[in-house]
Symmetry: C2
Subunit: 187 residues, 2 copies
């Protein structure tokens, strides 16, 4: 049984701490206490606090972008693509809710040039997502609404799953959310 390297324990504890208190309010002394170290000892494993935030943000950005690329490769059908995207967001949120919360809520505390790089990645993701919506509208598969409104409504509609208490997640979550977003609330 392989033990986790201390560096990884620090990253995981940091993600939980940033989730609970927010990046700015989380201190290195808080973090050290959670991994049974003194604050100064953390610096044998990491170079600085923001380095941890960088890893969380860019690892998750990569996950979303790789997932999107896989979907674009698999099918060209806008409806299939949209369904797969919804599933991608749900899967990532369920797989590592803590990390996703930090990625979603704390990225703006990145320092330059990382902040700029991160925003670029996000813009790229949104642009390709919007393109799928637009294509679906052009093909008459999706109802014609403002593409940005549709994009942000769906993107944010998928941004609460990581808050869910894992023990009470309904089994058919994928089906229900997909159904809500694709066919709406009304019977």
């Amino acid at each position: 049984m392989a033990t986790k390297p201390k560096k990884q324990l620090i990253y995981e504890a940091a993600a939980r701490l940033f989730q609970e208190k927010g990046y700015s309010a989380a201190s290195m002394r808080d973090l050290a206490e959670r991994v049974n170290l003194k604050a100064s000892s953390l610096y044998s494993h990491i170079r600085k606090k923001e380095e941890i935030l960088q890893k969380i943000c860019f690892d998750n950005a990569r996950r979303f972008l790789q997932g999107l690329a896989a979907i674009e490769q698999k099918t060209a059908d806008p409806l299939e693509r949209l369904e797969a995207l919804i599933h991608l967001h749900i899967d990532i949120a369920l797989d590592d809710p803590t990390s996703i919360t930090v990625f979603n809520d704390e990225w703006r505390h990145l320092e330059e040039p990382y902040l700029g790089d991160f925003v670029k990645l996000r813009r790229d993701y949104e642009q390709r997502f919007r393109q799928i919506i637009q294509t679906g509208m052009d093909q008459g598969v999706f109802r014609k609404v403002d593409p940005n409104t549709a994009l942000f409504t769906m993107l944010t509609a998928l941004r609460w799953i990581h808050y869910w208490n894992p023990t009470q997640i309904p089994g058919n979550l994928h089906t229900e959310i997909t159904s809500l977003l694709l066919r709406g609330m009304v019977e």
Copy 2:
């Protein structure tokens, strides 16, 4: 022409500052600079930093709860109530996006007992929102999905409007979002 009292200028500048940097990363010196004061002079107008956050959070909580109460009084029909709720969220978000961002993202930095009070207000709001959904399902007006999934999907789907650049908001925003949430993406 009535000039705004300095206290109000401070609250407005604080809301913008909290929105931009987050509550924890925003310092009283930052805030003072924005209203052309020294940090210590702020304390002639407010008692402490957190007092500003309290006002922002509870003023907005009150707005949502009063809006909900008005809707409950106006109609008993679940579909009409849901449509009105969607409009309420959009109206509030468009009316004061800065304040709403802070309300949404920074409330957890409230100190006790305000934090507990705030969470109670939010639970109450969610409970009454969920009840509307449940009644609609019982009456066969809404599709039967997990009520919590429907509740949080809609609540968060309405949580991006305050980020929108006011100059590019489409005129038929209410119609489009309502249509997306009630009837979904698919033609």
